[in-house]
Symmetry: C2
Subunit: 466 residues, 2 copies
């Protein structure tokens, strides 16, 4: 137990320059000579950053509720993570980077068992490790396609010469027409396969060739929920019917379906447990692998370790992918048929990075030791209640508040999100947007009640001035 050492301090946020400040601007300009710097918010002094607070090179200290695009789990310079970074096993993992699939280290099995598997989703007791959310999703898609063709081919039936030769030429039957279904406004990554399932914004997709895969409508709910119960239920039923219609009518077989528990980059769009149970039923019925993309929702931010735990599914999803707060990436799965029929089909040189898997183990220990998922649920409830009050006071600025009972995974629509976020930065809160009109809150799991006050009074100040 290292809880005492790792409890985040409540610091003052303080901004002493315009944002970005002159030193940030100079550093960005220097970098831009050889590394695209156009998306830089500010340049960071990570040594001075601590817990929930990020400090830039101009000495500005921000309460960070964006957290490296929702990927910092337990605070900057977390003492338990520092200890893991200094451990002998870390030194070896950094210096002796293995091709895990061929030459795993003697501690690899224990590292997974004591780390990632402590957090494995119920029912999913196998893992494939990766390096990013995009890669994890694409590996999951490949598992779907190989499983589909394995079933179609028949167990134990050997590959034909026509299959093995045609695939080298990207032609049928070796390179089959098979699809992964995703939802409008989803984000699943930026590789060519994952990007073909991403539907959030043109800036992610334009000019990149993509697969002709189906896009289903994701429920567009009306808020407040309690005033639109029937309408929203009907909308979800409409979407489920469309999912089934697309599966049964698409020009090629749909081997997998991927969904986020909460569509994050696409605007923080939620659906009900009934909707996801409906997806589970339809995918089971049609033999479609159900992938839950927990890259942004996983690791506690919704007040449960996994976002899909809110659904109480009658049977678990087939695959759950993760990244971001895990500080590493990969997918969990249950059915061993998702392990391809031969070795080396699902394979690559590094298959993840043990150094990052060691960090993940420390993150999981920190979460469990300090009951941070429970804390996130509790603090999230308070935060939601406080933002609700802001929504009442500023009804034109804080609309469609969502995330009740979802930990700190809270968002609202606002007419000028970029301006709001800019003003928040200027008074010491680093915060992000998503979709086209949404402000999203993505605090770390160490976000506490005291930080709620800081955040809410900052909102109050900015909203009253807009």
């Amino acid at each position: 137990m290292i809880a005492a050492a790792t409890m985040p301090a409540i610091l003052e946020n303080s901004v002493v320059t315009e944002v970005p400040g002159p030193l940030s601007k100079a550093a960005s300009k220097q970098l831009d000579a050889f590394f695209d710097a156009r998306a830089i918010h500010f340049v960071v002094d990570y040594e001075k950053s601590s817990g929930n607070y990020i400090v830039d090179v101009d000495g500005n200290r921000y309460l960070d509720v964006y957290a490296q695009i929702a990927s910092i789990p337990v605070g900057y310079n977390n003492a338990a993570l520092v200890a893991a970074a200094k451990s002998p096993e870390m030194i070896s993992a950094l210096v002796n980077r293995p091709a895990i699939g061929n030459f795993p280290s003697s501690n690899w099995a224990e590292l997974l068992k004591q780390g990632l598997f402590r957090a494995a989703p119920a029912g999913l007791d196998n893992i494939f490790t990766a390096q990013s959310g995009s890669e994890a999703n694409e590996l999951a898609y490949k598992a779907c396609f190989m499983l589909y063709r394995r079933k179609e081919r028949g167990e134990g039936v050997e590959w034909t010469a026509e299959e093995t030769s045609s695939c080298l030429n990207n032609a049928k039957p070796g390179s089959p027409d098979l699809a992964i279904m995703s939802f409008a406004n989803s984000f699943h990554g930026r590789g060519f396969g994952s990007l073909s399932t991403t539907r959030s914004k043109a800036v992610h997709k334009l000019d990149v060739p993509s697969f002709n895969w189906p896009q289903a409508p994701f429920p567009v709910r009306k808020y407040p929920l309690e005033a639109h119960v029937e309408e929203n239920a009907a909308e979800e039923q409409r979407c489920l019917r469309e999912v089934e219609r697309l599966i049964t009518s698409w020009h090629c077989p749909v081997a997998g379906l991927i969904t986020e528990p909460i569509q994050s980059e696409g605007g923080d769009n939620h659906a009900s447990p009934a909707f996801f149970q409906g997806l589970r039923d339809i995918t089971k019925k049609h033999g479609v692998v159900m992938i839950v993309d927990e890259v942004q929702t996983g690791f506690g931010a919704t007040g449960r370790f996994w976002g899909h735990e809110h659904w109480n599914l009658t049977s678990p999803p087939d695959i759950v992918t993760f990244s971001k707060k895990a500080q590493t990436a990969g997918y969990f799965f249950g059915d061993r048929m998702l392990v391809p029929d031969k070795a080396y089909r699902q394979f690559n040189t590094w298959m993840g990075d043990p150094a990052r898997v060691i960090m993940c183990k420390a993150v999981i220990e920190e979460i469990f030791d300090n009951k941070l998922v429970e804390q996130c649920a509790r603090v999230g409830d308070l935060l939601y209640a406080e933002i609700s009050k802001l929504a009442e006071r500023y009804p034109e600025q804080v609309k469609n508040l969502r995330g009740k009972g979802q930990g700190t995974f809270i968002a609202f629509d606002t007419p000028q999100p970029a301006e709001l976020v800019r003003a928040m930065k200027q008074i010491g809160v680093n915060i992000g947007t998503c979709g086209v009109r949404t402000v999203r809150l993505r605090p770390m799991l160490v976000f506490e009640e005291a930080h709620v006050s800081t955040l809410v009074s900052a909102f109050d100040k900015v909203l009253s001035a807009l």
Copy 2:
């Protein structure tokens, strides 16, 4: 200078059990319960591994000329790398993992300048960082496609509503039909885009949907080269004509062409500088971006820092991708037009991993401080000469020897590569195959003259018994 501390010792290789040994087998079996273990050669004790020698959990010590699929650059437990792993900047990079594109650390620019840019290919003074060779290649492809459409659209012309809406549905004109050309027997990775350019083996590609992109023939040279000068030159001309024919006749525009300097996974296939100069001329003529995939050839193994330095091109390639021995990944490029017209188009959450970029900096220092590229060229010449003698003594077992003047990047064909490799392991040499009949040598850069004797006498022993 830390040269003295990092000079590899010449150890005895010694095998005391069958390979894999009982402890390796038991550990693999334990792992296989939750992590596909079918490709494991043996389970490794990295703490006991050192320099060119890898030690397994059964206490067997192998001279390692496979080096984690050609990815260990400067030896196991290299002292300079250990120092980098213990550095304060490493601790911070591990603990405070940034979204580099949004919130880079204050030392990011210097880290690139003092690290990767010391090794940048001539003429390529921009970089995009990534996490794997697959990802690096796919990012390069996206840069090609965005550049192609930018030129087609006209500079400063805004995206149309039709483009931005159609791309979300994976439809034209927003999701265009554009292609990347690659060569027969090439390997460029396993993502959906990179796999569409990989042509090496069915096991990599079967059952995975792919893009209808062109495959050009790669020269099939006859050996010994000096006996087939005209024939091989004619074969290269044939392939170049086919490259140009495909570019001008493909069903859609070819935005980029990717080639390895030496086709590695596909069987260690070489071509002449004249062939690559021909590719440079054709790609220039037709406005096709030329990508050189140096994932396996980069970082010294061919006796030059980059494999393409052997070609003396009249103008540099447009993009050079790297991974493996770099211990991180990404691409270098020269033309700033390859930076897309807007921010966030070429972007992802992590955009690489500063922890691995720090290790890369240490690798580059170690290479330069100890003149390891020069060493690799020198030792490679000796190794090639010694294997030539084996080829004379065992003409049926050692055929088509290649890699003369290419450092230690040496390979030969043999009737039973799997058996040969298995026998080599059993007497203490860890070695790999590629293609369907090839044994490839992939020693680390710290491979020395004394290791040549060990390797060659092991070959002699095994070949004489086969």
